[in-house]
Structures are given as structure tokens and as C-alpha cells.
Symmetry: D2
Subunit: 348 residues, 4 copies
């Protein structure tokens, strides 16, 4: 049993983390901080947690967090970089669910996030917490940068193709769609149900922060630049991300059949507990992973047009955020990777 703290427990990643951690057999929740809700019982704030925890939110307090073995930051971008250093110095391990440590290139980070990085010295040490890419490094990490939701779906969808070198890495297209919970729990007219319901749109067409995250981490992993056009869209639903990925086959003579592509994915992910490869041309529904830590993928090459189409779905709050953070914790502390993550999808 380890002692765990959560900084910033009132957003959606925070509440999802709580949903998972209250049933996790190896941890004890020591503190869940919230400036705004300090003193309020967690179960009063989240009716869904009634009966599952007696904790109340507490004001952020360094001393108390310093006594934890692990602290999750479920805060807006820019908080963890302020506070992680002191915790690490106290011997606390840290998983940041925000973006503070996702990019190694501090300049690039500052440009996309519009603020000065407060802890550039920690950036290099931080491990990008995508277990399917960095499992070993995560195990030994003091500081884990939990990946963004889109980058998780896109990276897992592209990895086998890029590693095998069967597609043109210079021109990959990611048409991604997310439920509204991906935007977090913040008062914003743009996220009102009266704005988002029964409508659909692309957004950030000129550029989105998750694009450099995908590109930088793929480059570190694969040693190659990936030319990526990335267009996010907002779905009129709450949970779920679907990424449809398009890449040009390098072997237009089809030495590798469509079924071979699926085999490639199956081989790449055969030992992964949270990646499930479906038959080619299957329709992969977001609801098939709702509430779970799974990424489901299918790879297809429609009508021999020389373009490979990958579908990749995750629950943005689980594999795209809190579930992946728990998976990283399991790895960091040497537990069975699926501990606390035996979740069945809620469908319908």
C-alpha cells in the first residue's frame, strides 16, 4: 500500500482518477486538494462517489503532499511545473496529467502554451508516459508526463505502420474527433450543451497543441520526422475519441496484403493489455471502450488505393487521461499493470 495525493481534484480528469483510485487495491488516498472546494466532502461534490470515499477536499498543503509516495497533478497546464520540483526533492514521485512535461523542446512548449516554463531543468528527466512506447523508462521514472488524449489515440494508431516503415512518414493525416469532456470542466460558453449539442465542427484548424506533442514523441521513439496534418473536431457527446488516420503505402505493388497489416498490428500489440486490434474494415465504435483503459484499433486499405486507413478509439478520460495515469502508476510501483483497471465497457 502506498500513499497517494491528487492535486486539483475537481475537474474531469480528477474525478475520473478518483473513480479508479477508490477501488484500487494497492493505494490509500491521503489528500485530494482543491482551492475552491477545500472542506467539501468529495462525495458531496461528486454524487457518483457517494459511499466510496469519506475524504474531503483539502487546501493545497505542501507538507501533506510531501508525505505521499506518489502525487498526481490533475491541474490546468502550468501548475505541476511550479510544484513538482519540491515534491521530487522530498522523494515523492509525480505523474502530471497536464501538459507541463510532455515536450522536451522548451521553446516549442512555451510557444504553444503561451507561458514561460517554470521548471525547464525537469523537462529532460520527465518520461512521456505512454507505456506502449516507454514502459521501461516509466518503471524507473520519478516524473511522468501523462500523454494528451489525442496523442494517445493517434500515436497508438500510427506506431506499427511507422515502425515497420510501410507508409510515407512525410504525409500523415489525423482527422480526430473528441467528446466534450476532453475540453475539461471549465465555465465556457463554447462548451455549453446549447452550443455543442446536435452540431459538429472542426476546431483549431490552424494548429493544435497536441500536434507537436505527437510529432516530438514519435521522433524520439522512431528517430524520424513525421509530417502530420492534425485536425481536431468536437463531437456532440460526452466521452470518447476516434482518430481516423490516413497514410500512403510505400509499397504500391501491395507486397503486404491488408490482412498482413492487421497481423502487423497484432504482433506489435500482442503483449499489450490495453491495446486491442480488430479485424480490418471493422467499424470501431467509441462506446466499445467507454469507461475502460482500452485503445481499440483497426487497419484497412480500402480498395487498393494505396492509402492505409487506421481507426483508433479510446475513452479520453481513461486511456486518454486518468486510466493511463493509473497504468503508469502500476508500472512505476511494480504492480500488475492491469491492477485497478479491470473495467468493462459500458455499451450501450
Amino acid at each position: 500500500m502506498i500513499s497517494v495525493g491528487i492535486v486539483g481534484g475537481t475537474g474531469y480528469t480528477g474525478s475520473e482518477l478518483l473513480r479508479l483510485l477508490v477501488r484500487h487495491p494497492c493505494i490509500a488516498l491521503r489528500a485530494v486538494t482543491s482551492r475552491a472546494e477545500a472542506g467539501t466532502a468529495i462525495a458531496e461534490h461528486y454524487t457518483a462517489l457517494r459511499g466510496l470515499t469519506d475524504l474531503s477536499f483539502s487546501a493545497p498543503e505542501a507538507a501533506r503532499l510531501a508525505e505521499c509516495d506518489l502525487v498526481f497533478f490533475a491541474t490546468p497546464n502550468g501548475t505541476a511545473m511550479q510544484e513538482a520540483s519540491q515534491l521530487l526533492d522530498s522523494g515523492v514521485r509525480v505523474i502530471d496529467l497536464a501538459a507541463d512535461f510532455r515536450l522536451k523542446d522548451v521553446e516549442l512548449w512555451q510557444r504553444w502554451y503561451g507561458q514561460t516554463h517554470a521548471a525547464p531543468a525537469l523537462v529532460d528527466e520527465a518520461v512521456y508516459g505512454l507505456p506502449e512506447l516507454n514502459r521501461r523508462a516509466i518503471a524507473g521514472a520519478r516524473l511522468v508526463a501523462n500523454p494528451g488524449c489525442y496523442p494517445t489515440a493517434v500515436t497508438l494508431g500510427l506506431l506499427p505502420l511507422l515502425e515497420a516503415g510501410v507508409v510515407d512518414a512525410n504525409r500523415v493525416i489525423a482527422d480526430v474527433k473528441s467528446g466534450v469532456s476532453g475540453a475539461g470542466r471549465k465555465a465556457s460558453t463554447a462548451l455549453l450543451m446549447a452550443e455543442c449539442g446536435e452540431s459538429f465542427k472542426a476546431y483549431s484548424v490552424s494548429g493544435h497543441r497536441h500536434q507537436p506533442e505527437i510529432q516530438e514523441n514519435l521522433k524520439r521513439a522512431l528517430g524520424m520526422d513525421v509530417g502530420l496534418t492534425f485536425v481536431p473536431h468536437l463531437l456532440p457527446m460526452v466521452r470518447g475519441i476516434e482518430a481516423t488516420l490516413y497514410a500512403t503505402r510505400l509499397q504500391p505493388d501491395h507486397e503486404l496484403a491488408e490482412t498482413d497489416l492487421t497481423a502487423l498490428y497484432q504482433k506489435r500489440y500482442q503483449d499489450e493489455p490495453f491495446v486491442d486490434v480488430l479485424p480490418s474494415a471493422t467499424s470501431v465504435e467509441t462506446r466499445s471502450v467507454r469507461g475502460t483503459n482500452l485503445c481499440r484499433v483497426a487497419v484497412t486499405e480500402p480498395q487498393g488505393a494505396g492509402v492505409v486507413v487506421v481507426q483508433s478509439v479510446i475513452d479520453n478520460l481513461v486511456k486518454g487521461a486518468a486510466g493511463q495515469a493509473v497504468q503508469n502508476m502500476n508500472i512505476m510501483f511494480g504492480w500488475e499493470e492491469t491492477t485497478g483497471l479491470a473495467l468493462s465497457a459500458l455499451a450501450p
Copy 2:
């Protein structure tokens, strides 16, 4: 005033056609047929039409339809090709909202639609009813093939780029998303709200009938083959199509700036009453055209990556079906093209 008939008035294209026609100043509805609902008052079937029409559905009856000036087929694929010939012989003009006359290549049609074409002799005569492409031919047509919903959104989104030759026509990607009304009003478990609600998926990833329709009509219009990867998706909402289109710039040195691309679109569509070009990088929402005959488009070139991104939205039941049919009727009978189509979008 002309006399108009509708064959098959109980589906969504039929009901939308009725919504538009009951307020159209130049037509009188003479017959709306439905085998299943013959004798039922239309306003009983569609509560939304109470007070707007006294007509009842009638059994299909050739004689009565033959007295019309114009007959719309809002039937499943395969019906119009059986019945159009006789009507045309009686001097009735025909607009088919189904797919029977959308492809000139009868072999191709038979392969995709899985049936023998009953009126191949009429195929050549039929005019593909996309006014922005074929206005003059539509004006003189006896038989108009009303375009599919996806092809309308995709073709209008691509036309200016392809006509100007600024993108590589060999590799165009259309990632398209539709509300569920696009699938029609048929009892099907796959279209239940419990199946489609709060979920999202691609479908027909291996191939969809609208792909050859887009390709064949672009080829006829532009004289070039377009290499198109087309992946449809099902949105958890009722109305609206969004197409995000990706094409590679042929001038990677950016002789043509992003603003020039928008200018290109504005010029192409300056006289079009139903195409609205938005500023580059705008988020184009489907609700901005809900209930209207408009197509709204925006063209962007994100971060100079050499890929042009076009957003195109329509209401699948209006510009994607019934509204376009009314627009075609207006052209065929020499009326102001916007007659009966002065519709404001319902947003929110």
C-alpha cells in the same frame, strides 16, 4: 403554378420535401404516394405538418402522377428506374432523390447497388443535379438525378481547388461525418438511438457508394481522374454533414497564400446563392446550416505543411436532398432559384 407529385412520401427526404413544398408559392401538390400509408392524412403521419396540408397519402397510381408537371421520387434506390420512363413519356419531368441515375457507368452502378439497372437507356439523358456544376443542363432536363448528401458536401468543397489545379488530384482524402437521418427512416437495429447515441464510429471503411459518385461526376466535370479516399462516419446527432477534405498543394513554395485560397473559393462561388465561403481557419458548424439549403465552406492551409484543409457543411436533408431537389425544380421551371428556400438556420 405547376402540379407536383411525390412518390414515396414517408421517409425523411419525403417529409423534408413536404416541409419545403407546402410553402412553395409556385406549385400545387397533387399526389403524395405511399403504399403503406395510403389513405392516412399526411398531417397525421407528420405532426409537424398539421395545419399545413389537407392531403392524404394515396396509393401509387400512374394515371394521377402522369397528370403532374413534375414528379419527385423520394423512394428507395431502384424504384425510380422502374417508373420514370412512363412518366417521361407522358411529358412529366422527373427528379429522383435516390441513386438510380447518379452514375453514367451502368456496370459500376450495378456493382455498387447490387441490382440490375432497369432503365439504362435513360442513364445518359439524366442530368446530375448539382446546380453549381450543371445549372444550364438542369434547366433543360427532363430527368434530374439529385446528388447524394456526401457527394454534395465533398464536391462543393473540392471544386475550386481542382478546377484551379492547385492540389494533387491523385490523392485527395475525404473524412466525412453524417447525422443519422442520412441513413433514412427504416427499421434497423444499427440506427437505434441506443446504438448510435453517445458513440461515434467510421463505417463502410472498405468502400461506400458515394465514392464512385463523387469520382465519376468530378471526372465528367473536370476531365480528370480524382484519386479519392473516402471514409464516412456516423455522428450521434440527427441532421448535418461535415466533410473535412485534405489535399496536397502542388505549389509547395506557396505562391498562392492561404488568403488567396479563400479568394479562389469566393470567386468560384460569388454568384451561388447557396454556397457561403467563410474566412480561412474558421470553425464551420453544421448547425450554422441546419434547416437551410446552404453549403458553408472554409479553406485553410495549416502551418504551411503543404496540405490544404477544407471544411464543408450542409444539412443532409436540405442541400443534401430535398432542398437541392427544390433548387433543381426552380431551375427547371425558370423560377428564381431561391424560391421557397428562404430558410434561416436553426441555431442553437
Copy 3:
């Protein structure tokens, strides 16, 4: 042609008013004010209005509004009562879409709205703008208090029963449900799609401002106290209100058959252009009035249990707000009551 101003044009009632007024044949829009958006083109703020108006939002300016024949307030509660007096003195007629003048009992108003009333002297003069109740008074009014959305649906649902004295007025139950647009366009976490989507709840169970509005206006109209239990609920959708109303029959011996109840409603509303009485026991869908100024009602007496059940549906933004305001304008200026309100429901 009269000259019209709108104060506060950026919320949902404001945008809906614009949707209706840009096509109204008898008015010219002179000013649409918004402190926040002054200078912005209306069509830029509301993509749905592109091509329909060239106006920009202007800063609130008394002089300009004073030149109008009619000013609509589509502002939060508490604004119209500050500004109406000066406009009325300038000879401008006023329709307030907020709640400032809906209650005659100023004490009661102040208790429910938590502020001091700034214009108690105008309260008596204001006419409650429910045409089906107060048509004559509206025609001559300088100041009209446009009813709340719930009160419109509930009052129209109850009127025939209460006027005829066939139910016990001491115990009426109104179980009402509204789409989220009813709560307005304000940044609030409670109204986020991630909070409201795929969920349903009652709210304000202890009491809601619309309850005294219904009771006071029924008392004025009918001269009797109505004992009303009113429980509002939030629907996971954008537009539409459904009220299910329960009242006990005073004649348990069924002198008046169920069909007679429907006849009672038909008679009461036979000359009303915007109330449509459906057959008993029909399912009355909110979508059957979406986008229109209609109220559709059905009255049923299930299984002789002595309880009358009324279903009443409206579009909260049209008959529940902007459409009713236009109807009131039409009455005030002596135009055909349906002018500018020939709207067909968008279904599906």
C-alpha cells in the same frame, strides 16, 4: 414599416429574435446593442445570420433607441426595469423578454429575483404578453412583459380546464422539462455539455420563479387561486419544453367524457393561430413544434382514474420567448398576428 431596436442581442433569445426579425416584412432593425460585442458584425457573431443582416452590434445608446418605434429587451433580469421608463417617455413601446414586469406583486418579485425593483410604478401598467389570455390589452399596451417559457407551456395547458371548472384548482401538478437553451447563453459549469449530456434530473425542486408567475397570472385571469406544485427538469437536448400536467376531475361520475375534454380544448383555442389541439392520448413530441411559434396540447383521462393528464409542448426559444414577442409586436401594431411567424417545424 416600423423601426425596431434590440437591447442585449447576444443571448439565445436575442439571436432567436434576430432570426425572426430579419425576415419580418414590417420592420426595420435599427439597433442591436451589446456592451461586450459592440462593433462586431452580427453575422460574424452568429454564423447562422450570415447573408441575412449587415448590422453590427452597437454600444447601448439611449438616443438611438429612443428613435425606435419598439424596443425589445433580450437582457438578463433587472435591465429592462432600469431603462424602460425613459424609452416609454420618449414614446417608444417596449417588450421585455426578461422577467422584470411579469409579476404585479412587487414584494413577491423582489423575493424571487433577489433584487430591489427599480420601476415599481411601471409594474401595474405592464401587460402580461400571453396573447391567448390578454390579446386585447396587448394591442393597446406600451409595455409588454413577455411570459416565461415554462409559464407559457403550463398556462396554455391548463386554461381550458380551469376556465371550465372541471378540475380541482387546489391541487394541480406541473412536471415540466426543458432543453438546455432555456437556461440562456451564460458561462456556467452546470450547463456544460459534459454535465448535461446523457443525463436527466429535476432541479429547483424546492421552488422556481416560474411558479409564482403562473399562479399570479392565472389568478388575475380566472379570479381564483391555483394550488400548483411545479417541478422543472433539465433535458439532454437543446430546444423544447414539455409540460405534463395533472389535475383531479371534479366530476368523478364522468359526465364529461374524454372526448369532451378534447372538444373543450378545441373550442377554447379554435381561433388561436398558435395553439394546436391534438387528439386525446396522442404522444406530443417537442420536435413537432421545433423552430415554430406553436403550442401543441393533448388532454387525456387515463383509465378513468379521475386524473386529467395534459401534455403541452412549445419551442422554448420561440413560443416560449422570441416568437411570442414577435406575436405580441404584431398585435401591438395591428398587423396580421402570424406575420413573420409562418414557420414549419424542423422534424426530424
Copy 4:
């Protein structure tokens, strides 16, 4: 470990039962039958169950089911009554999730369900499986009639009030709302997303089968007739039921304060693992129980009007169907009642 069979595994109650049973520690799934899908892998039919079961659907086969310790019927109404007798004779215990054994009055059943009852002799033996009412009888039952979804929400909402005799049992109103999954997985145009999405309506206003179920079981439990007006409504969402219940206080002098009413509920349900009483006047959201076997209730007496308002929410597929069936199984086999039901709500 017991051996369990499911007859009719392809509907929503069947799939939900599978979701729960594949993780239940005390059972082994022996057979899941489906005439239509015999031979298909369950995980192929339900992508959500990939990796959780290797079973395939099998054709209904009496011999194989007869070897089970327990058989669930997740079939349409009318199937269990044909097959239960033979299974019971073989010593198999049976839980019917359909309506075949929910009413003791066979005449009444036949009238509402429009068919002749095939096993009237079993009707008396069947135990109505609402644990909060019949726990002891369930423990010893061979045949359990799992309650309907609405009756579960309504009965749990009313029980404390009726048992304590604080409200007038002659006139209780249940305004109930359900997500579309409550209607089952059957091809029906009325349940299409294009019909149900973004709309709301009452249905079966003249009478619904769940009304006699509630009345009969309350009468058996309490020895009193309950005069119930019951109006169901269809919500534009997938999962969840909310019942708002209205009853007149018998003590108009308020001997019992509102807080006492909540205390009454807390006392009644203090030992119930699956009923959670919330503070008076709380908004009780359906999402707070999504995916769980909980019923959450709150009781309020708004503004001393003499009417008690109860909110009761359940997940129609869990506490309203499959979860309650598992709870009943746990009771029948003497296991901890919460076994396999430690589910956290998915919110948002």
C-alpha cells in the same frame, strides 16, 4: 461456483447481464443462447466483451440448460413462461427478466400482454424480485420474476411514504422518464435516433403495463390499494430512468418536517446496499447511477404545499434489469449481496 445459462443473450438486458457475469467470481457461464446468432462468438457480437469471454452463442438446447444451476431469461415477454417449467422440474432455478411472472392476476396479465399465459400454475410460486421488498422470499425461491425498470424506480421511491402512511395512497402520481435502451434492442422506426434524438415526449398516456405491476405488488406488500396515475416519457439519451413522484401529505399541519421525511427514507433503507438517500431538495441526476446497481432517491416537500415530491433514479439496464437480476442471484445462492456489483458510476 455455480453453472449459469442465459436464454436470449442478444438484447440489451442480455448484454448487460453478460457485462456483469463475466466478472462475477462465483459463476461459470455455461450457455448463452440465441436462435439468430447461434455459432457467433459473443465477443464478435458485442465488441465491448472482446477479451472477456470466449463463449459463442448457442442454439437453445433444453438439455444443456438443464445442467445449469441457474438460468436467466433475457427474452421477449412470453418465452420464459413456455420454458421455465421444464427447467424447474430439472432442478434449475430461474430468474426471468421479462414480464411473464410479474403479476399474480393472470387475467390482468393476459389483458395487458395480449396473450394467453402458458404457465399459470407457476405464477403463484414466482417471487417478485425486488430485494428491498422480498429479500427473504427471494432467498428461497426457485423462480424469480425480475421487476420492470419503471416499477423498480417507482416502488423504491414510494415505499417509505406508503409504509409510514404519511401520504394519501389514493392519489399518487408517477411522472417517469426513460432513456431509449429501456425499449430494448428491436428494429423499430419509433426508436431510431432520427426519431428520438433532440426530442422528448410522453407515451402510452392511456395506460402502460408497468402501472398494474406497481399497483399489484404494492398491494401485496402493503395490503392497500394505491391509486396511481403513471405517465412514461422517452428521453433523448441511452441509459437512465428518473421518476418524479407526487403524493399528498395526510398531515397538512406538518407534524412531520421535511427533514423527517428524509430521515424516514434513511431509516427504511439504512441496511440496503443499493439504495442511497440524498438530502432533501438535491437534484438527483441519472448519471450519478449510470452503470451501477444503485437507486438514488431524495424526498422534498416544496414550500409547504402539502405535496411530497420524490425523485428516484436508476440505470434501467442495471438496477432496472440485469444488475437487479444478479442481486437476486446473489441472494438466492447465499452470497454477499453486492458480489460482482461493486460498480462505480460513469459520470460524466
